[in-house]
């Protein structure tokens, strides 16, 4: 039976655990709300990972891990564009630019980084293509999944806690009324500043997430930090006003006030 489903029912961590225990070989294809990813496994070990259209060629990965400089990266891309990663890796080792462990460490670091980013995906679909592996010209790596699974489980707990704290993203945010607090004196991260710039009772948290290109986990994490710091509070979109007529048996405002005053007098007399 095909291994396919929804990330809401089956998390990335659970998928990794399954692949690890069953020692599966194949490619996990994940389609998130705004991006997609391929993660390949050989006998239950991580072999390759790609996220969206991100350049994950060997020169790009080596450049990201600072093993080669920007001019070297550009030169290799120009002159060795027709070479496979395996051929290029051998060339760099033989030419004495890098050794084998430089290359393998960079690849492992990059692939693990991709899987870590996938832990933040809580919406989307997945399917596992058994025995489908990336092209043979890529350099094979074998990364044990146990540590990643533990890390993912920790993140899952964080996600559950964040969901408890912020049950719905359809609510809005407003700044707390704290006259003594000056936002300029508070150290915020770039992500926090991006969210803060959209804080307004008219914007739901979901709209802020879309505007800042954050997924459900990322936006909840940032908002949780702002809530903990006492900078913002959660309000109904559009601001809270007393408009619900069903509260009272009458729509006449004077009668409503009279009713509340009668309640006050009665409770005083109990």
């Amino acid at each position: 039976m095909a291994l396919r489903g929804n990330l809401r029912d089956f998390t990335i961590t659970q998928l990794l655990n399954l692949i690890n225990l069953a020692k599966k070989t194949g490619t996990l294809v994940i389609e998130g709300p705004g991006d997609f990813a391929w993660v390949a496994f050989r006998e239950g070990k991580l072999a390759y990972a790609q996220i969206g259209r991100e350049d994950n060629s060997l020169p790009a990965i080596l450049h990201r891990s600072s093993k080669i400089s920007a001019p070297q990266y550009r030169m290799i891309k120009e002159r060795a564009s027709s070479m496979t990663d395996k051929e290029l890796g051998l060339l760099l080792i033989n030419a004495g630019y890098l050794n084998q462990s430089d290359i393998l460490d960079s690849l492992q670091q990059y692939f693990v980084g991709v899987v870590r980013r996938l832990f933040t995906w809580v919406e989307g679909t997945f399917r596992f293509e058994a025995d489908q592996m990336p092209p043979s010209g890529l350099i094979p790596v074998r990364i044990d999944l146990e540590n990643l699974i533990i890390e993912g489980a920790r993140q899952l707990r964080e996600w559950e806690q964040l969901q408890e704290e912020i049950p719905s993203l359809d609510m809005a945010l407003k700044f707390m009324d704290r006259p003594g607090t000056n936002l300029r004196n508070i150290n915020l991260s770039v992500e926090e500043w991006r969210v803060v710039s959209y804080v307004n009772p008219k914007n739901t948290m979901r709209q802020i997430a879309q505007a800042t290109k954050m997924n459900d986990l990322e936006i909840r994490r940032v908002i949780y930090g702002l809530l903990q710091a006492g900078l913002v509070e959660i309000v109904r979109p559009g601001g809270a006003t007393l408009t619900n007529q069903r509260m009272f048996p009458t729509t006449n405002k004077d009668e409503q006030k009279s009713l509340v005053n009668r309640l006050i007098n009665r409770i005083r007399s109990i």
């Binding site: 408890e164 704290e165 049950p167 719905s168 609510m171 707390m176 009324d177 704290r178 809530l227 903990q228 006492g230 509070e233 959660i234 309000v235 109904r236 809270a240 006003t241 007393l242 408009t243 619900n244 069903r246 509260m247 009272f248 048996p249 009458t250 405002k253 004077d254 409503q256 006030k257 009713l259 509340v260 005053n261 009668r262 309640l263 006050i264 009665r266 409770i267 005083r268 109990i270």
Partner: protein, 179 residues
């Protein structure tokens, strides 16, 4: 006969049933059951659907007090109970800081259901291990404008004070709304 309602909510074992019992003119219609979960056995029974109390104002008006079930697995009842409420009281057990986070979540959930006025009441303030109100306000992340009152749910006068403060807030908000 006109009827209005106020909802009393809060985490498990916050004292909601006692709170309503202190001011209700009828025996509280309670749906208490013996507790099955080991982790929740800090008391022998708990409310599973709702508590129901009544205060007759005059020939023409009755106030109903609804207490929500405290256990999380009954939270589907909350939205039903919150429909058409005048306002709500969030009751927090001052001696059980492990429930403060849940109280905050309940508060935000109810605010999402209806933008009605509310007050937060720190119950069991007579206990030796009760937290100070100032510390609780910080822990519960309550804005300084939110009415936060000490209460002992078995003390009628203190319960009256909480309900009155809620009604004053309702009146103030009606007046601020240009009514």
């Amino acid at each position: 006969m006109q009827t209005v309602k106020i909802v009393v909510t809060g985490p498990f074992n916050a004292g909601k049933t006692e709170f309503i019992r202190s001011v209700s003119e009828i025996d509280v219609v309670s749906t208490e059951r013996k507790i099955s979960a080991e982790a929740e056995k800090v008391k022998s029974t708990t409310t599973v659907a709702m508590d129901f109390g009544r205060i007759t104002v005059d020939d023409d008006l009755v106030l109903y007090l609804f207490g929500t079930p405290g256990q999380k697995r009954f939270d589907f009842m909350w939205e039903i109970l919150s429909e058409g409420m005048l306002g709500f009281v969030v009751l927090v057990d001052s001696s059980r800081p492990e429930t403060f986070r849940e109280a905050r979540t309940i508060l935000e959930t109810f605010r999402a259901y209806a933008p009605t006025p509310y007050v937060v009441a720190a119950n069991k303030q007579d206990k030796d291990d009760a937290w100070d109100l100032d510390d609780m306000r910080v822990a519960l992340r309550l804005d300084s404008k939110v009415k936060f009152l000490p209460v002992v749910a078995t003390d009628k006068e203190k319960v009256k004070k909480v309900l009155l403060e809620l009604l004053y807030s309702i009146l103030a908000e009606m007046e601020a709304g240009g009514a």
